[in-house]
């Protein structure tokens, strides 16, 4: 009997050892199928339509305004010396913008990681581009102010990795157009239940948020919130909802409480948050709050959307300023990640513009008589991608002019590979047939 009992216990323990890792807190029955390259991913959807000429090609004014001055205005991300004349992109000194923002990083992202110099952007517009980055697909029929059609990387992460809602964040630069809709898709197998926590901090913690949200009571979890939820659940059970479902991303009550405490903390800080050293535009403020989100929640996946360079439609000088600040923002994010113990050395950051901009200008001139650029021609399909972090080859450049390596839709399967569920994502059949992990393109 003793021997039989021993065998029974040993068999149970062995079976348990195999089964338990596959029963995740979310209730899913399949754990990540691959090894993780890092436990955290931060993707910066960079800046809102960036020309290759002023970014990786470092031509400054020479290939935009016909002024023979070249140089690198993104020296946290890219190797290269800054322009020496006609400096307009910095902070104000004797002249407007004449003082470049000091470099944050000791060595550039290019030196620390891998640069894909020429990546194909599959869409000429912001939201098509963002959709490609987030969905790994290129559905051109998707309209403005519509939820993504195919699942986003947020939903893949939550469903296939079992990540709770508070570990997946989308920090947006505002609530205009499609931005607040990108945190989950309409796909019937995914959708809101696997969505990311969206936050547009410049609204939530801006003047509107201070007026309408900052005075919120923090109720006692057991003595006050419990009865509220019990009565609400009774009412919900009695409501036969025949008018459709209410979409929710399913933060647990504990997660909701944590988010409310985070908001309270942000209001208490009154703007004294982890902003970059220079924070004189909306993108830099957004990045400051994104860093606070990382410090508080240590997310598995954080996506930050920047958009100030879209000023290029009508103001080239503002575009240069915004591009310089977007580089400053990326340097700051990478710097701050290294100061969060749970994320330092365990985070891969990706940076990709959602689309490029035109080769030829439109007729609109700014204060310096410089011409502006829209995004609609073939040059718009030229962007770059940077990756940095553990398991990413350092100081490696792939592709070049006339030799595109990768596409914007690659970012989704790349993140899936980093977090260890690439096979799941590729197996859905919902990814573009040409998209693949950038690690497979190195």
């Amino acid at each position: 009997m003793k021997r039989r009992g021993f065998i029974k216990k040993a068999a149970t323990a062995t079976a348990g050892a195999f089964v338990v890792p596959y029963i995740l807190p979310s209730g899913r029955l399949f754990a990540a199928t691959g090894a993780q390259l890092a436990q955290h991913v931060v993707m910066v959807m960079f800046a809102g339509g960036v020309r290759q000429q002023e970014s990786v090609e470092q031509t400054y004014l020479s290939q935009s305004q016909g002024i023979p001055i070249e140089g690198n205005i993104m020296y946290n991300m890219l190797d290269g010396t800054a322009p020496t004349q006609k400096i307009v992109y910095g902070t104000d000194g004797n002249l407007a913008g004449d003082t470049p923002i000091p470099q944050i990083l000791g060595s550039t992202i290019q030196q620390q990681g891998t640069l894909f110099r020429e990546v194909r952007s599959s869409h000429a517009g912001h939201y098509g581009g963002m959709n490609a980055l987030l969905q790994g697909n290129t559905l051109f029929s998707q309209g403005l102010r519509q939820k993504p059609i195919n699942p986003t990387i947020f939903e893949y992460t939550r469903r296939h990795l079992g990540a709770p809602a508070s570990k997946v964040w989308f920090v947006g630069n505002g609530i205009g157009n499609s931005t607040p809709l990108m945190n989950y898709s309409n796909h019937p197998d995914y959708g809101a239940a696997y969505g990311a926590n969206f936050l547009a901090p410049n609204v939530t913690f801006g003047s509107q948020g201070i007026e309408h949200l900052s005075d919120a009571k923090i109720y006692h979890p057991e003595e006050e919130l419990d009865p509220i939820y019990q009565m609400k659940y009774f009412l919900d059970n009695n409501f036969e909802n025949i008018g459709g479902t209410i979409e929710t991303i399913y933060n647990t009550e504990e997660e909701k409480q944590s988010i409310k405490l985070f908001m309270r903390e942000m209001y208490n800080l009154g703007g004294n948050i982890a902003k970059p050293p220079v924070s004189d535009n909306g993108d830099l403020s957004t990045v400051g709050y994104a860093v606070e989100v990382m410090k508080w929640f240590k997310p598995t996946l954080t996506v930050v959307n920047l958009g100030a360079v879209d000023a290029c439609h009508s103001d080239y000088t503002s575009y240069l300023k915004a591009l310089h600040r977007a580089d400053h923002a990326v340097g700051h994010i990478w710097n701050q990640i290294q100061q969060i113990p749970e994320m330092a050395g365990n985070t891969i950051m990706m940076v990709t513009p959602e689309c490029g901009r035109n080769l030829t200008p439109n007729p609109i001139k700014d204060e310096n008589d410089w011409l502006a650029f829209d995004h609609s021609d073939a040059n718009t399909q030229r962007v770059f991608t940077q990756m940095v972090g553990p398991n990413v080859p350092a100081n490696l450049v792939r592709g070049g002019i006339g030799n595109q390596v990768g596409e914007t839709a690659d970012n989704c399967p790349t993140i899936a590979e980093i977090l260890g569920f690439k096979a799941d994502v590729m197996g859905t059949g919902l990814i573009s047939s040409t998209a693949q992990s950038l690690f497979d393109r190195i």
């Binding site: 926590n197 007026e211 919900d236 036969e240 459709g244």
Partner: protein, 180 residues
């Protein structure tokens, strides 16, 4: 004499006529009685088919952010929210992805305002029935069912820490309140 005979003949003739009428009547009535009484079937009473729905089932349209905020504000403050404030508050709601969460934050923010119109705890406990009816009318625009009334009555009586603010909060968070 002749007259007497004549009367007798008439009387006889009349009785003959009435006898014939009687038989004629029976002759007509008999088949009728046979068909109506003899062949009477069991009566089957039916009702029209009706789909029975709970009293809240007619709410099928989801409120927009602005509708939710405007109605919430009116329910809590018994006055309308200005259009500027409504616009700003709806922007705040859009800025946070978890709508349940932002509704909680918005409601708790309103609950902190001194002008919110709430019954006192004493008023609620003095007449729980009236409080429940008033709360259903205010938030869900209907009367409670007997089961709902009983639940809230028991809940309020057995939970001394429950105050009108918490009851109002739960109604404003409920799924039914999201619809109209």
């Amino acid at each position: 004499m002749k007259n007497v005979e004549m009367k007798n003949v008439r009387r006889h003739s009349r009785s003959k006529q009435s006898f014939a009428v009687r038989y004629l009547f029976l002759f007509i009535l008999f088949p009728f009685l046979i068909t109506t009484i003899g062949c009477e079937k069991d009566k089957l009473y039916e009702v029209n088919e009706e789909t029975l729905l709970p009293p809240n089932a007619n709410k099928t349209k989801l409120k927009s952010d602005q509708q939710y905020i405007a109605i919430l504000y009116a329910n809590l403050f018994q006055t309308a929210l200005s259009s500027d404030n409504l616009f700003e508050a709806s922007e705040c709601v859009q800025s946070i992805g978890d709508k349940d969460l932002v509704h909680e934050v918005l409601i708790s923010n309103y609950m902190n305002k001194p002008s919110v119109v709430l019954p006192t705890n004493e008023d609620m406990r003095a007449d729980v029935d009236a409080f429940i009816t008033e709360t259903y009318n205010r938030f869900l625009v209907r009367n409670p069912t007997e089961a709902e009334r009983q639940f809230f009555k028991n809940y309020i009586i057995t939970h001394p820490n429950v105050r009108p603010e918490l009851v109002y909060f739960s109604f404003a968070l409920s799924n039914e309140y999201q619809y109209y």
